[in-house]
Amino acid sequence: MDKFGYTISKERQIDYDSNNRGVASYIFEKEPSFRLCIECGGCSATCTTASFTDFSLRELNILIKRGENDQVRQNLKKCMLCGKCTLVCPRGVNTRNIVVLAIKAFQKSDNYEI
């Protein structure tokens, strides 16, 4: 609204209850190792994309679980699916498959209802 010279700031909080976590449920079902992540960041440390962009698979995993889907969708395509992250994961999470499943999930549905 121009007449005031400012607009009402949007909340930065993750509103857990309002978010749709359909994508996360889909991945949990197809790739149960998704549950095992302890957010150590090993995947991001070895990631080629993470070296040159602000892509972080560790953060992406969390955002999927919280249902912050818009942010996830914007970042997914940065992954080149090389699978190096899967090699380093200390918890044996099939990290590459999580990205693949997330891409699939978004292709299936625009409104995250999977």
Partner: protein
């Protein structure tokens, strides 16, 4: 909500409040924001409660706005505050009674700093002496004006002409209390009821017939916050804070908001207008806003003072819905008659030196 648990917390946070002989220091901004409040406070103290309240014409800002807005350095602030103490000492008073929450917080912070770092106090004394030739005593008692109204809430209740009760339904009015951040968030032990469950305004409301609402964002800042408001580009942040509170309190259907800080009623009041302009949203019932009051205004209404003498025409969110619910008599046609105010203030010799 387990009220017993809250009472236990309230019992943990009591404070000593002087009984009489106060040295009253006004707020920089309240006389513009809500000009009737301090006037009403003095009238209540002097005429209803027969207390000695002294004001000094040489009192200046405490610099709190500049200090919290990152403009005035702390040492300068301390020296200015030392001068206020000196004026009080010279006038022969020991009980400091600030009208402003930020001043109260700042005085508390400075006294605490001097307590822990006596060398700082020594330095400030030296600076004050050099600059003004003045000396001072540390106040014996420091209480915010809302603490004093809290202390005498029963006396005010005993003289009440109106109760905070909806005359049509007989139900207590549902009241949201908002405590200024600088009242107890910096020093929880200096606030009645502490910082998490403050009792200072709740005690007044309960005593005067109303019912307090505890809603999720009760502890959230009103949005003044000095820094976020002072620059226009940041005001979206300020208004978002108020909006968060309104959204959170709305389901509880509050009849009114009571505050004890200079900035909070200003922002909670004015931002309701701006949010409505920007988004077409109102948070009260029947498409109205939620009226916002200072505690002095509420005390004045309870005591039967004329709403326009209390300055309620200065509110941007109309106060009439609350007046009507309580059944307070007022003349709508007098709302904007400015000649009422000078007549009122001339009658009372407010500055007593």
């Amino acid at each position: 909500m387990i009220i017993k648990g809250k009472k236990a917390v309230w019992n943990d946070y009591q404070k000593e409040i002087a009984d009489n002989n106060y040295y009253y220091v006004r707020s920089c901004v309240r006389q513009n924001f809500f000009p009737g409040s301090e006037t009403a406070f003095l009238k209540i103290m002097r005429e209803e409660l027969n207390k000695d309240v002294y004001e000094h014409p040489c009192h200046t800002t405490c610099t709190g706005i500049g200090y919290h807005g990152d403009i005035v350095p702390v040492e300068t602030t301390m020296t200015v505050v030392a001068r206020q103490f000196a004026l009080m000492t010279e006038a022969g008073y020991e009980n400091l009674l600030p009208s402003c929450i930020t001043s109260f917080g700042l005085y508390t912070e400075i006294l605490d700093t001097w307590h822990h770092f006596p060398e700082v106090e020594k330095k400030v004394r030296k600076q004050l002496k050099k600059a003004t030739g003045r000396e001072f005593k540390i106040p014996k008692n420091l209480a915010h004006a809302s603490d004093v109204i809290f202390k005498f809430r029963k006396e005010i209740g005993a003289k009440a002409r109106y109760k905070l009760i909806n005359k049509n339904t007989g139900e207590p009015l549902k009241v949201v209390d908002h405590i200024g951040c600088h009242y107890a968030k910096m020093f929880p032990s200096r606030g009645i009821g502490g910082a998490e469950y403050p009792y200072v305004l709740t005690g007044m409301i309960e005593e005067w017939g109303g019912q307090i609402i505890d809603y999720p964002e009760r502890r959230h800042c009103c949005g003044f916050g000095f820094r976020q408001y002072l620059v226009q580009a940041n005001r979206g942040f300020s208004i978002a804070c108020s909006k968060e509170k309104f959204e959170s309190m709305k389901p509880f259907k509050p009849d009114m908001i009571i505050t004890n800080c200079p900035g909070c009623p200003m922002f909670l009041d004015r931002w309701q207008y701006v949010i409505n302009e920007m988004e077409g949203k109102r948070y009260g019932q029947n498409g109205e806003g939620i009226p916002v009051f200072t505690y002095e205004e509420v005390a004045g209404l309870v005591l039967g003072y004329d709403p326009w003498d209390l300055g309620l025409q200065m509110h941007q969110t109309d106060c009439e819905p609350v007046l009507d619910k309580i059944g307070i008599e007022y003349a709508p046609e007098d709302k904007y008659k400015l000649n009422i105010l000078p007549a009122y203030s001339e009658k009372h010799n407010l500055i007593n030196v």
